[in-house]
Amino acid sequence: MSDITVESEIAGTVWKIEASPGDSLEEEGIIMILESMKMEIPVLAPEDGTLSEVLVSEGDTIREGQPLAKLSRGG
């Protein structure tokens, strides 16, 4: 199983982390929610997999392209 790094598509703040390492996620399952542009923007799993690592904490300011989490392909 190869790891996929999930990067932020937008600059903002980590508001809520919804999934924990070990969680099985379907494609487009919510990993965390960012606050950006006055909106709550979800970070979604790019494909089915198991969340292996969360690389940020709630309240962190993040930049576009910053790695947020790692997902092991295939669940």
Partner: protein, 511 residues
């Protein structure tokens, strides 16, 4: 020679041509779960509808004649759902379906006939590129360039392409020129093969990295759809064609009553949170307003802040362009603009009315977008929208801000606009405006910030827009489908029988 002997000779030659690259190669493909050039035609076309031209074509090199059945490219005409199409199916078992002088003539013949007779062209791609050594040298190179219109696209008829194996050379070029490109997982689309590329640049290149489905569905946006098998890819080609007219001189086919069903009545109010900070998936709204099962998304994994999808409203083909708040709040980046431009050009070129669903905080700003020439892509999209001459109708669901308001059909950039009761329109989000105009930050002075934001929120509602005729109606969200059906009927181009001006017909097939 007697007629009997002549007919035996014809039968022998036909059987030899239909045997393609031989039993062994064909058996190997079957073991791998792959169809071959002829069984792909069986899967694509209506039963027994294929009429081949060029079956007995062979390499122009005399020594290769016996080893080049159909010269590696099976070509002809057939029907999809009873409608005529032209087709080229590459046969990788014959010299890698490489391009040669003879099969170039076959492709040219198919394209010319389809254009003259008003038929879509389908390319089933799997080819290794130019045939070497045939194409080496000046004489061959000058022959190869004999047709100065070979790669011109004027969208007289739709072109669809399925990338079903290694695609280099002609299969790649015609795929890139097509209006629809579906890629089978495991296939490759690139200029040259991984082997040739590795030799040229002196490092090992992985075929998937060089031109796999992930690259083209997520990074380049060349692939409109991805399939797990040959059969699925060919079914997607059939489905794509079902939305398109056979040629640009007619309106798309319309399903008769009984062939389409209204959507299943999802509660649209439950799909869109009234809170302006909460996001939702616009694809659910498209499915809730379009005919049941009719939504056919294109480039789903690319430029995802905007959704582009063919669909039907009461049996009539339409193209949805919808910002998706689920992705970056619906803020379009350069890739989203490229995707929207591409789709608008196709819809307008083939007389497919456009529906815009709008919920966007504006364009995504930032250094990475500017490095990708965001302003130019925003203007390409705007230019395309303004040249769209088929009906264009828009609905503002919640936010529509700034230049994105215009790019998504605001002002006179739609024939008609309806606003949901939750719509708000302005140059920028009032909260952002409070910071930009007054230099306020909420965490430093919440009272002053909220007062300034409230002041900027005035005159932004659906009713404010309606009062200045900036939208033509304010609607109950649950009436969205009814509004769209009625507005499309009102704005139908009766004078030209549904045909647009097609001013973008020769715009590029990739942005």
């Amino acid at each position: 020679m007697s007629y009997e002997e002549q007919l035996e000779e014809l039968a022998r030659r036909e059987a030899q041509a239909k045997a393609m690259g031989g039993e062994e190669k064909l058996a190997r493909r079957t073991e791998q779960g792959l169809l071959n050039a002829r069984s792909r035609l069986d899967a694509l076309l209506d039963r027994d509808s294929f009429r081949e031209v060029g079956l007995l074509a062979q390499s122009a090199i005399r020594a290769d004649r016996d080893t080049t059945p159909a010269d590696g490219k099976v070509s002809g005409f057939g029907r999809v759902e009873g409608r005529d199409i032209a087709v080229v199916s590459n046969d990788l078992t014959v010299k890698g379906a490489s391009s040669s002088a003879t099969n170039a003539k076959k492709i040219a013949y198919i394209k010319t006939t389809a254009t003259r007779s008003g038929m879509p062209v389908v390319f089933l791609g799997e080819s290794s590129g130019a045939r070497i050594p045939d194409t080496m040298g000046a004489e061959s190179m000058s022959q190869g360039g004999a047709d100065p219109q070979q790669y011109c696209r004027r969208r007289e008829t739709p072109w669809a392409s399925a990338v079903l194996g290694p695609c280099f050379g002609s299969s790649t070029w015609y795929s890139c020129l097509s209006d629809f490109l579906v890629m089978r997982k495991g296939a490759t689309l690139a200029v040259s093969s991984a082997r040739v590329t590795s030799l040229a640049i002196g490092e090992t290149v992985d075929p998937e990295e060089l031109g796999g489905w992930r690259l083209h569905s997520e990074v380049t946006g060349l692939a409109d759809a991805v399939a797990d098998s040959d059969e699925e890819a060919l079914e997607l080609v059939r489905r794509f064609l079902s939305y398109l007219p056979s040629h640009a001189g007619e309106a798309p086919p319309v399903q008769s009553a009984g062939e389409w069903r209204a959507p299943n009545g999802d509660d649209i109010l439950a799909l869109v949170p009234p809170e302006r900070t909460r996001v939702y998936d616009i694809r659910k709204i498209i499915r809730a307003v379009a005919d049941e099962g009719s939504v056919f998304p294109l480039k789903e994994r690319f430029g995802k802040a905007v959704v582009t999808a063919l669909a039907r409203m009461e049996g009539q083909s339409v193209g949805f362009v919808a910002t998706n708040p689920m992705i970056r709040g619906g803020a379009m980046d350069p890739d989203a603009c490229r995707k929207a431009s591409d789709f608008l050009v196709m819809c307008d070129s083939f007389n497919i009315p456009v529906i815009l669903l709008v919920d966007t905080p504006g364009f995504l700003v930032g250094v990475s977008g500017e490095r990708k020439a965001a302003p130019a892509h925003i203007m390409n999209m705007m230019h395309a929208l303004q040249l769209v001459s088929v009906p264009k109708v828009s609905v503002i669901l919640r936010k529509s801000y700034g230049q994105a308001f215009l790019n998504m059909g605001g002002g006179r950039n739609s024939d008609e606009i309806a606003a949901w009761t939750s719509a708000e329109v302005s140059f920028m989000d009032p909260g952002v405006g409070a910071s930009v105009v007054h230099g306020l930050k909420r965490d430093e002075d919440p009272e002053a910030f909220d007062a300034a934001a409230d002041a900027l929120r005035k005159d932004t509602s659906a009713y404010d827009m309606a009062s200045v005729f900036g939208v033509q109606s304010v609607i109950d969200p649950r009436d969205t489908r009814d509004f769209l059906v009625a507005a499309l009927a009102t704005h139908r181009r009766r004078l030209s029988n549904g045909i647009g001006r097609r001013e973008m017909a020769n715009w590029p097939t990739y942005f």
